[in-house]
C-alpha cells in the first residue's frame, strides 16, 4: 500500500455502508463486507472525510478537531486513508485525475 498524495480527493463511494454507534464507526464495503471497526482517532478521521474534499481538507478538519497541527497529523491521515482505500471503503482520486 502506498499512501495517497495529500491533494488527492477522497470520497466515500455508494458501495460503502457505515454506522456510527456509541463513538465507534462500523464501515463495510458492500455487498460483501466484512465490517471494519474504527475507534479513537480513526473515528475522528472518518468524520473528517465523509463530507469529501481533498486530503489536505481532511487534514485541516482533523487538526481543528484535535488541536494538533495540520502538518503533524498529515502522515497519519495519509497512512490511515490508504488503508481504508485498500479495504475499498473510500476512493482517493489522484490529483492528475481531477486536473491537479
Amino acid at each position: 500500500m502506498s499512501p495517497p498524495a495529500d491533494d488527492g480527493i477522497v470520497l466515500v463511494p455508494a458501495t460503502t455502508g457505515w454506522v456510527e454507534r456509541d463513538g465507534v464507526v462500523y464501515v463495510a464495503h458492500l455487498p460483501d463486507g466484512p465490517p471494519l471497526v474504527l475507534t479513537g482517532s480513526g473515528v475522528v478521521v472518518w468524520q473528517a472525510l465523509v463530507d469529501g474534499g481533498t486530503l489536505t481538507d481532511v487534514g485541516e478538519r482533523v487538526a481543528a478537531a484535535t488541536g494538533e497541527s495540520a502538518a503533524g497529523v498529515r502522515p497519519g491521515i495519509l497512512a490511515f486513508v490508504g488503508g481504508l482505500a485498500d479495504a475499498g471503503v473510500v476512493v482517493v482520486t489522484p490529483p492528475t485525475a481531477h486536473g491537479g
Binding site: A14, T15, T16, G17, W18, V19, R21, Y26, A28, L30, P31, D32, G33, P34, P35, L36, V37, L38, G42, F80, G83, L84, A87
Partner: protein
C-alpha cells in the same frame, strides 16, 4: 482499523444495506421490512431481531437468489422447506448473519405479484447504514406487522405489535389498513390479527388462520391448508407437501446432513404419525358421539 465484534443491531443495519446494494446491482426490487426498516413510531420496543427481512418482487426472486449465492450467502432453508406458507428462504452470510428472503408475504399470498406492486407503489425510503432502502408505507408496514402478529399466535391485544399498529391507530388509519388489506388479498388475515376472524367463520381461509391464532396440531394445520388451497392442483400440492421431508430440519435434529435412508425412514415416520393422528381423532370423535 480491525475486524472485531460488531453489535447485532449494527450488523443487521449493515446487512440491510448489503442486500440493497446487491439488489440494485441485480436490477431486482426489494422492500425492507421489520427490524431497523420499521418506522420508529410503529414499534413499542427497540428492535431486537438478529435477522434481515426483505420482500422481493416475485419475478426477480430467482435472480436475487443467484446473486446472493454468488456473494457468499448460504441457503439454510429453502422456500419449500421453510414454513406452512412456503413464503421465505433463510440464508446465512459470514459477515452479515441471517437473511429471510420473502417471495410473498403470508396473508398476501393469493396474488404475490399484485400485492408486491401495491406495496411498491406506495413505498417510502429509509437510510440504513447510509444506504437508501425502499420500505413499505407506514400503513403497509402496520399491515405487515399485524399479519406477522396473526401468525405468532398472539392476535388480539396480546401481541405487542397490535397496539401501535391497530388499536392505537385512528379510525381513518384503520380504514386505510383495511383498504390495503383488501387490495393485497389480506382481509381475512388482517381479521385474524385484529380479533375479528369470526366475521369470516366457515370460510376455508379463516379456518387456516384459526389454527395460527388459536393453536392446533400439524394435522389441524395441514387440514386447514388443504381446505384453503384453491383447485385440485393446489390441493394435491398441499397433500404431497404435508408428507414431504424437510431435509434441513431433519438434519438439525440428527446433527448431520441426512442420508437417503434417513430421509426415507423419516417419510414413513411422518406417514405413520399422520395415520395415528387421524385414528386418534376418529376414536375421540366416536367417543364424543356416544
Amino acid at each position: 482499523m480491525i475486524e472485531a465484534v460488531v453489535p447485532v443491531a449494527v450488523r443487521v443495519e449493515l446487512a440491510h444495506a448489503a442486500v440493497q446494494r446487491l439488489a440494485e446491482r441485480t436490477g431486482v426490487d426489494v422492500l425492507h421490512i421489520k427490524g431497523p426498516a420499521v418506522h420508529p413510531g410503529l414499534r413499542t420496543r427497540p428492535s431486537t431481531g438478529s435477522d434481515v427481512d426483505v420482500i422481493v418482487r416475485p419475478d426477480g426472486v430467482d435472480l436475487l437468489m443467484r446473486a446472493l449465492h454468488d456473494h457468499g450467502w448460504l441457503v439454510e432453508t429453502t422456500f419449500a422447506a421453510g414454513s406452512a406458507f412456503d413464503h421465505a428462504a433463510n440464508l446465512y452470510h459470514p459477515s452479515w448473519g441471517l437473511l429471510d428472503v420473502h417471495r410473498h408475504y403470508p396473508g398476501m399470498d393469493r396474488d404475490p405479484a399484485g400485492a408486491f406492486a401495491t406495496l411498491w407503489r406506495d413505498r417510502n425510503h429509509v437510510e440504513l447504514a447510509h444506504v437508501r432502502c425502499a420500505v413499505p408505507s407506514p400503513l403497509a408496514q402496520s399491515l405487515v406487522l399485524l399479519l406477522h402478529a396473526a401468525r405468532s399466535g398472539h392476535a388480539g391485544d396480546e401481541h405487542p405489535d397490535v397496539a401501535p399498529n391497530w388499536t392505537d391507530r385512528t379510525p381513518r388509519e384503520q380504514s386505510g389498513i383495511r383498504d390495503l388489506a383488501e387490495e393485497t388479498g389480506a382481509t381475512v388475515a388482517l381479521a385474524a390479527a385484529t380479533g375479528h376472524l369470526d366475521e369470516f367463520a366457515g370460510s376455508p381461509e379463516a379456518a387456516l388462520w384459526e389454527v395460527f391464532v388459536h393453536g392446533g396440531d400439524r394435522l389441524d394445520e395441514w387440514g386447514a391448508r388443504l381446505r384453503a388451497a384453491r383447485g385440485p392442483r393446489a390441493k394435491a400440492g398441499v397433500a404431497l407437501h404435508s408428507l414431504a421431508v424437510n431435509r434441513y430440519y431433519l438434519g438439525q435434529r440428527l446433527g448431520h446432513p441426512p442420508s437417503r435412508p434417513e430421509v426415507v425412514a423419516e417419510f414413513f415416520r411422518r406417514f405413520a404419525a399422520g395415520g395415528r393422528a387421524v385414528a386418534t381423532r376418529a376414536v375421540a370423535s366416536r367417543r364424543g358421539r356416544r
